[in-house]
């Protein structure tokens, strides 16, 4: 759309070197500055991924017999479907949890003054910059059988036996909620703080309750941010290998664990390649679907 009508500057041709004086100039097109990155990208990113696709079409772990054996083996096993399903489901659960917990925080952010907003934003971003290992470690201490949560709950007399939180999906989702929350909040806050503050006042002046305003005005208008957040959280939580194994243990099997076992424990590269390509395809297709919905909803809003 916009890019066509604005597509005025031809893809190149700002002169660069005046070194040549008059006459013929050696003109380095500006886009060629992207070539070094393009080369690095091709050699270090695309080539490995293509090779991985190639490796998946071998039958044996010594990579000598080409064929579809690994694909047949992986998708012939119903267990793997369950693993894929569980992985995607974990992503969905984490997304839901971050929305439920994160959205109100974004609302509160909107009501704060500029100074407090800055502080809150700082707090929100901080975990993002903390090592995942550190955060996961912290959750072991918090969620453990003798950890903080259980001690508090027992201390309050709410439970007599410690809850089992580590090595359960509940514990995993809790810890992922913290780890992924910034990814949800940043796009959400970005979109919400661009909303016209008068909208809420207008809604209130028209007699809508705050709940009504929330669901009929704010939520629909913040949809693009929400979708962007969901996308990031989903992509990140389905592949959060460290948290999945350390908090989840080995009874909860998700694709990353499977890939790790196949590649670095059993050392069946073709099968690991199949598993990781399945991870890519399934995660990316959910993401594609989400962003399609996001585009539709934002198209809806902005005509």
């Amino acid at each position: 759309m916009g890019s066509r009508s604005l597509g005025m500057t031809p893809p190149s041709l700002r002169d660069t070197s005046p070194a040549d004086g008059g006459g013929k100039r050696f003109a380095l097109a500006e886009w060629q500055l992207a070539l070094p990155l393009a080369l690095a990208f091709a050699a270090l990113f695309l080539a490995p991924l293509l090779l991985l696709v190639g490796v998946s079409f071998f039958n044996d772990d010594k990579i000598t017999q080409p064929g579809f054996g690994s694909w047949v083996k992986f998708f012939g096993d119903p267990f793997n479907y369950k693993v894929i399903g569980d992985t995607l489901l974990l992503g969905v659960k984490t997304v839901c949890a971050t929305i439920v917990v994160g959205y109100p925080l974004a609302l509160v952010y909107l009501d704060l003054g500029a100074r407090l907003q800055k502080v809150l934003l700082f707090i929100i971003i901080m975990p993002l910059l903390l090592s995942v290992v550190v955060r996961t470690f912290a959750w072991i201490v918090v969620l453990g059988r003798e950890g903080m949560v259980n001690q508090v709950l027992i201390g309050l007399g709410l439970i007599s036996e410690p809850l089992r939180l580590l090595q359960t999906e509940l514990g995993l989702v809790i810890s992922l909620t913290q780890i992924e929350m910034p990814l949800m909040l940043l796009p959400l806050i970005s979109v919400m703080s661009r909303l016209d503050p008068n909208l809420r006042d207008a809604s209130a002046a028209l007699g809508a309750s705050r709940w009504r305003t929330l669901f009929t005005v704010i939520v629909p208008l913040s949809m693009p941010g929400l979708v962007a957040g969901c996308l990031l959280v989903f992509a990140s939580s389905t592949t959060a290998f460290i948290s999945q194994t350390v908090i989840g243990g080995v009874r909860l099997i998700y694709l990353p664990l499977l890939i790790w076992q196949q590649s670095l424990v059993v050392y069946n590269w073709p099968l690991a390649a199949v598993a990781s390509l399945s991870l890519v395809v399934s995660v990316l297709s959910v993401i594609a679907a989400l962003s399609y919905l996001g585009r539709r909803s934002s198209g809806h809003l902005h005509g």
């Binding site: 243990g249 080995v250 590649s263 424990v265 050392y267």
Partner: protein, 343 residues
């Protein structure tokens, strides 16, 4: 060897120039370095704490340790295809056979060990050298649960609800599960009964973890009973954790741990120096002491009193498994365990 895009030394020089990390002692240039694997946990602590400083002092060689279980080492080495990621393996009997079959080891020349004479006959061959013995049994927290008596107790209350379970990735896990299986009609090559029994009590089991995670889970109180080796128990005790070792009624499992030189290593001479040091009296004696409690192989080092055996001759009284029969089945077992134990 493969030429690297930019030399390591350049990088390190650059790194110290970048400031802030120049205090790192690792940057001091040593005469040589060697990468050896070690098992995570006690082995890692012991080799870092005892062996590495001795090797540095004696031969000015930097010992880099890669904590990996035996199967992982084999996997990494196989994957590297001729460019071994480390110079020396430490392996249990099963993976040792896999490594031999895969041609992962340099032919070993026992005569290059100055300490060869101190080892019992047959402890060094053209594959590698035995450096310790491991004893596997049950560890439990005496403050939380009574002492279990047999492998079967693990599946009964009160132990089962405090049990920490791990699969077939390790020798101690595999051996323990085989022993458990035998009690329910299984055999060396049939672990299905054990899995079937485990599955019945699965909802009660406190934790299922990666082998490396077990000591941590025990320490955190996530589980209070597990199968493991004597060294792990010793390490946990050393940290002030309530833990005791029991020998199951059907006997503890014992096996020798061996070290091997990786095929294609660039550090052949240093590897021999390292192995010679490991079986030497000094190291063996130090590792025998708490909190490491290794079973020594050097004839000059007496077995300490608190070990479960008095001399290496007793090894025959312990349960030993024929790994040439287990190995072909193991990959399938790992997968099976994953699937059966998955929620």
């Amino acid at each position: 060897m493969i030429r690297q895009p930019f030399s390591r030394r350049n990088l390190l020089a650059g790194a110290s120039a970048l400031g802030g990390i120049s205090f790192l002692p690792g940057l001091a240039h040593a005469k040589g370095s060697i990468v050896a694997t070690t098992y995570p946990g006690t082995w890692e602590d012991a080799y870092r704490g005892v062996v590495a400083p001795m090797l540095k002092k004696k031969d000015d060689i930097d010992l880099e340790l890669a904590p990996l279980f035996a199967m992982d080492q084999i996997g990494k080495a196989k994957a590297a295809r001729g460019a071994p990621p480390f110079d020396v393996f430490v392996l249990d009997p099963g993976p040792r056979i896999v490594g031999m079959d895969g041609g992962l080891f340099e032919k070993f020349d026992p005569k290059k060990l100055a300490n060869l004479g101190k080892l019992p006959a047959g402890f060094a061959d053209d594959v590698g050298v035995q450096v310790s013995a491991q004893v596997v049994g049950i560890a439990y927290n005496p403050k939380k649960v009574p002492a279990p008596k047999s492998w079967a107790d693990l599946l009964k209350d009160p132990w089962v609800s405090r049990l920490g379970l791990t699969g077939f990735q390790t020798t101690f896990g595999t051996s323990s599960l085989i022993e458990l299986s035998k009690l329910f009609g299984g055999s060396l090559t049939n672990i299905d009964p054990a899995l079937a029994e485990l599955k019945k009590v699965l909802p009660k089991i406190a934790a299922v973890g990666l082998p490396a995670a077990m000591p941590g889970l025990f320490q955190q109180g996530q589980c209070d009973v597990m199968y493991t080796n004597t060294q792990t128990v010793a390490t946990l005790k050393g940290k002030g954790i309530d833990v005791e070792f029991v020998k199951p009624e059907s006997g503890s499992i014992a096996f020798y741990t061996t070290m091997h030189i990786a095929k294609g290593t660039a550090e052949l001479a240093n590897a021999y120096k390292y192995l010679d040091l490991v079986v030497g009296k000094e190291v063996q004696e130090a590792l025998t002491k708490p909190p490491y409690n290794f079973v020594p192989v050097n004839k000059d080092v007496p077995l300490p009193a608190d070990l479960p055996m008095k001399s290496l001759d007793e090894m025959t009284k312990y349960v030993e498994h024929d790994w040439s029969k287990i190995n072909p089945l193991r990959a399938a077992w790992i997968e099976k365990f994953n699937k059966e134990m998955a929620k």
